[in-house]
Symmetry: D3
Subunit: 137 residues, 6 copies
């Protein structure tokens, strides 16, 4: 947010560093998969989304993921993106139980179908990480 | 709704009786599939959703399913839940033709894409029940 | 649905008869308010929505209103249209208590905020009809 | 919009001519797939959607597809319909690059997840048309 | 979550204690405003929403409000509920700057219109609390 | 999109020039109204939304507004933003009749309530511009 000039490539590199800190391979895969069809969308997700917005201070990585889980659950139809952010939530230290608690809470505001779809996304991510069954279950 | 005390397990049992009366195996499957990842969500769907709300008088089972088909069609992204409630709608005596009429009507309020997705869910349920082609078709 | 030829005006008149049977002045007001800006939209709501779709057999007027209340509640941002259909629901014989029960049920599938907004629409309609407080309250 | 009388079948034929001009086989497939379950929905999509509305003057086919791409992207959960309209957009002369630009623009108003889902739909259509990788990519 | 029996009134009282700890008068106002039209909805919001779900351990009050701000922003049309939860977010110790940061972040996932509506809700709450202009602004 | 370095202020100025070309006072008002509460959101709307995305070639201003009208109509709850873009659509040369045609078309994909809300937004903008009643009406 300083007034230092930055090139398009510098802004991309700066965003990629933020993305690297949050995501595992599934996050990178989204960007790479755009290369042959919508490379500018990939650039903007990295340079703007990660570089300009998600890099800002004020909320820590766990807080940001809690917000994002809420946003993606309520939107509906964003299960692919939810999977990426469930993995990111684990990465920044949220426990599987906390992630599931987010989805249980969402049923109060968005109803059971959105909560069930979100848990379905969690199932795919947790299974890949060898986390199932959850100990509390 | 009386003021009689009930335990957590009694409330669950009471909801399960309502669920049993409405759904076939697909309804039970949803609850069972949560056991290893989000058992509390399964408990709340049964104890609160079925036990406290759907069990209330004031609307009969066919009326409740008509409302639910409307809700799930308009939400979008709830096709899995729609399949469960299309089967429940047959269970409580709505005809396949009435269910399709609900989705045709929904196109007036939500447009053709939501109606088409709902009919796609109906196709999967009706095929499983050996109901296709519909006689009127 | 017969193969009898109908003119544009005949189709409109046929829809208007259906609209007349369902709605009071608030329904007509929607169509009239479009005259100076979007008369074709008004025509299509009447000729197609009411004339071609809502006039169909298969679901009776109470069943159709239950579906519509579900659709409009779940969509969100359709409170103006919900007011028109809450009035229509009273017109076709649903009780105020049944209408409120629809919105309570919707909280299971869409969460409390949508239910609260729908009850807010019901409050405006019920107050206009001198129905508040409801006896059960 | 003349006041000439038309039969149900004439209205259907008129809509089918509009559909033929816009869509390739994927558009026809939607209508045909409804024959055994919801033939009236298929009829109304053609006779009303294409015959009465999309056939109107005032917007040319490219303008109409731009609007439709916007509508379907923002709705979410309409990826199947988006595929049909991405193919139609190519049919009426929009370039693959323009279609991708629509989805990039949508991220400003609807966020990246809806844009990513729309690009996913474009990938399936472009691949089928042998258009990948795009030259600019 | 113990298996101790509880009456309907005990469950309500337990939820009301949670609501008291989170909300100021605007939260109570929602429940009271339902008394003459939908008292059962008010009961369920308190007894189930607050008593059974939001009272659970696993997420602390700040974490829960971050999730709720995300959910309500993405849903759209829930600005009234967002105002209540912006006030609750201040109550549990989130700063005005953090709340605004949540809405800026939401533009990445839901686009600028949803973010702008959420900031509009924050403006009304912050003004009432004498917090405007924000120091950083 | 060149690789020339730009400062934060240069990027803002570049976006403001695009915004100036599209919008009248209502567009500027949105940005100014954020100054005391969410100035960074205002900055990003201008620098990223207008400067990086809407300024891109590939779609002309009329095409971009057609897409935006589609997006905002389908989202629901974005009537304030729709008003700004209806005014912008007039600015870039779309006629009032074409704008209304967009909303009529939207009823095919999103249903009548969204179309009616969009026409309501158009009414407010057209009235302010002294355009009502429309000549065709």
């Amino acid at each position: 947010m300083s007034d230092t000039a930055a090139t398009r490539e510098e802004r991309f590199a700066s965003g990629m560093a933020v993305l690297d800190a949050m995501h595992d391979a599934s996050g990178h895969g989204v960007i790479e998969s755009l290369a042959d069809i919508a490379p500018e969308l990939g650039h903007q997700i990295v340079a703007w989304g990660y570089g300009d917005i998600l890099s800002r201070p004020g909320l820590d990585p766990q807080q940001r993921e809690l917000v994002t889980l809420g946003l993606l659950t309520a939107m509906g139809g964003a299960e692919a993106q939810l999977e990426v952010h469930i993995a990111a939530s684990l990465n920044v230290g949220l426990t599987p139980e906390q992630i599931i608690e987010v989805f249980l809470q969402s049923s109060v505001y968005c109803g059971f179908p959105r909560a069930l779809n979100a848990v379905g996304a969690a199932r795919r991510v947790f299974a890949e990480h060898g986390l199932l069954p959850l100990p509390e279950a």
